[in-house]
């Protein structure tokens, strides 16, 4: 597996994997993130780590370490990881760590774009719900807003591009699809994803590398859902 370290200004380094697909990379990025966060020799050096599909952006305190010294250390961590775990082995896989089930109501009153997805995909609404809720997704990145988790991959049969123009306000909890990714809007926001349902649950437990499954609930269950129950 190939990688490079890119100096970002004077107080950040981007660890960049360049030759593997995102599915192969996820366990590597997940494990590297965990190792760097708990590295005793870096605890006073690293300020933030932002993991994403192919990269980890490490920002650090320039008073506690020189950039080239940190680069040497990061090289050592990445090389050790790549030597001990082949990307396909289960050793580094987060799959056993965390499977989170999120309740979602796919009722048409909460899913303004489900009907058009049905036409676009030539599948019945029931088929779409069945396909969407039977897939296990991985969290590749978090961003856009707090706790907005990019989950993939969406089954090819129900992929659909985002709206050409973002819609006005998307309701908090809305479940969207954009191409091969699916995500829940943790709070109300302008957004362009195709909305196919809504979750009543609080979404502050997702992290890069965790796995997610959606379970379909009825409109009645949605309305009776107690947020405090999942705290």
């Amino acid at each position: 597996m190939q990688y490079q370290l890119d100096m970002i200004g004077y107080d950040a380094i981007l660890i960049h994997f360049t030759d593997a697909d995102n599915t192969q990379l996820l366990p590597v990025i997940y494990t590297l993130n965990q190792q760097l966060k708990s590295a005793p020799d870096l605890s006073t050096v690293i300020i933030d780590i932002i993991p994403s599909y192919q990269t980890l952006l490490v920002s650090f305190n320039i008073l506690n370490m020189e950039q080239h010294q940190l680069a040497d250390k990061l090289h050592a961590y990445v090389k050790r990881l790549l030597n001990t775990a082949s990307p396909k082995s289960n050793h580094a896989s987060p799959s056993t760590v965390n499977l989170i089930t999120i309740p979602v109501c796919y009722h048409e009153s909460l899913a303004p774009d489900l009907e058009s997805l049905s036409q676009y995909s030539a599948l019945s609404i029931n088929d779409i719900i069945q396909i969407h809720s039977s897939t296990i997704y991985s969290c590749y990145a978090i961003g856009f807003m707090p706790n907005f988790a990019y989950l993939g991959d969406v089954d090819k049969r129900i992929q659909i591009p985002r709206h050409a123009k973002p819609k006005g306000q998307v309701a908090a909890g809305s479940l969207g699809i954009a191409d091969n990714q699916t995500a829940i809007y943790p709070k109300s926001s302008p957004g362009g994803w195709q909305i196919i349902g809504q979750s009543p649950a609080a979404l502050n437990t997702l992290s890069v590398g965790c796995q997610v499954k959606f379970s379909a609930i009825s409109l009645d269950e949605f309305n009776r859902y107690d947020q405090k129950a999942d705290a």
């Binding site: 490079q4 890119d6 100096m7 970002i8 200004g9 004077y10 107080d11 950040a12 981007l14 960049h16 993130n33 300020i47 933030d48 780590i49 932002i50 993991p51 994403s52 599909y53 192919q54 990269t55 980890l56 952006l57 920002s59 320039i62 008073l63 950039q67 990145a141 978090i142 961003g143 856009f144 807003m145 707090p146 706790n147 907005f148 990019y150 709070k187 992290s207 890069v208």
Partner: protein
């Protein structure tokens, strides 16, 4: 630690926020760091009061704020020039002032610069969220950290036992920036710089840019001769402070304190935190240009800055 009311907000001003150094260690959850738009003026305000560098203070955008003082203490005023009065008497910028219970602090509109800082001995003691008091409205982390100042709000501070000396401290003249001066930002190219053609690179470095109306704590959009045929969007990755993004419309966006944590627009590089401070004091229509900067020089400057202000 004893907490006592410091100010009653009579007029909240156009857009007044509470800022400490920012919210670090949460960007992996999509939580933006926030922190002072003008780090330089913010740090001076705390320093001349003898405060720790991370103490929470007011960041006042566009002015027009009025406060009633609720305790005998010392404040510092730094940053943009607003024409501040204490009990209808002009109070100089870039220095400390003693105030006592019942005093009225009144801000006019911005004359030069965009945001000013009002610090108080001991720092504001509003409730924290994720280890910071910084206001980031769109992150909605908690009520107090997601709302600008509002009328009737009461701001708490650490109670001070010893009486404040009458001696005032001021920022030395040569450290006071001129927010009206033309601004050239030092670009530290990143690994995506070679994705640009040499013509595109030259355009960025020679264009005269103006600040667009889309300029706030998230980022500043600059308008100039369009850079055509930029690389397509890349896979999203973490975004550092001061990143210079180049979206397909060919107009650069400099990302600041309240930036999104990840994004996929191509980037020319970053500008230093000190340049971000300067940029944040410039207003819509002001002229901006870029030059190539040596990363070593930026690093030495920043190291010296961090040592001086102890953070």
């Amino acid at each position: 630690m004893n907490i006592t009311p410091a100010f009653d907000v009579i007029k909240p001003g156009v857009h007044t926020l509470i800022q400490d150094l920012g919210r670090f260690g949460y960007q992996h959850l999509g939580i933006t760091p926030g922190g002072p738009a003008d780090l330089h003026a913010y740090l001076w305000a705390n320093k001349i009061l003898g405060n720790d560098s991370n103490m929470a203070i007011l960041e006042i955008h566009y002015g027009l704020m009025t406060l009633r003082v609720l305790t005998d203490t010392k404040i510092a005023i730094c940053g943009a020039e607003f024409g501040v009065n204490i009990n209808d008497k002009p109070a100089f910028n870039w220095q400390t002032h003693n105030v006592k219970t019942g005093d009225i602090i009144q801000y006019g509109g911005a004359r030069t610069g965009k945001c000013g800082y009002l610090a108080i001995v001991g720092g504001l003691q509003t409730e924290m969220s994720h280890h910071s008091r910084s206001t980031v409205i769109r992150d909605e982390l908690s009520e107090i950290t997601s709302s600008s100042l509002y009328e009737g709000q009461r701001l708490p501070v650490t109670a001070q036992t010893p009486a404040q000396s009458q001696e005032q401290r001021a920022v030395p003249r040569h450290y006071i920036p001129n927010y009206s001066a033309p601004l050239t930002l030092g670009l530290l190219p990143c690994y995506q710089w070679p994705l640009l053609t040499s013509k595109q690179q030259q355009q960025l470095l020679t264009n005269k840019y103006q600040i667009s109306p889309q300029a706030n704590r998230m980022g500043y959009q600059l308008i100039g001769n369009m850079i055509a045929d930029l690389p397509a969007t890349l896979t999203s990755e973490g975004i550092a402070l001061g990143s210079v993004q180049l979206p397909a419309d060919g107009q650069p966006i400099v990302l600041l304190q309240d930036r999104q944590t990840i994004g996929g627009y191509p980037k020319a590089g970053i500008i230093s935190a000190l340049d971000c401070s300067q940029l944040s004091q410039r207003q819509q229509g002001d002229e901006i240009s870029f030059k190539l900067e040596n990363p070593l020089i930026s690093r030495y400057k920043m190291q010296a800055f961090k040592h001086f202000f102890d953070f």
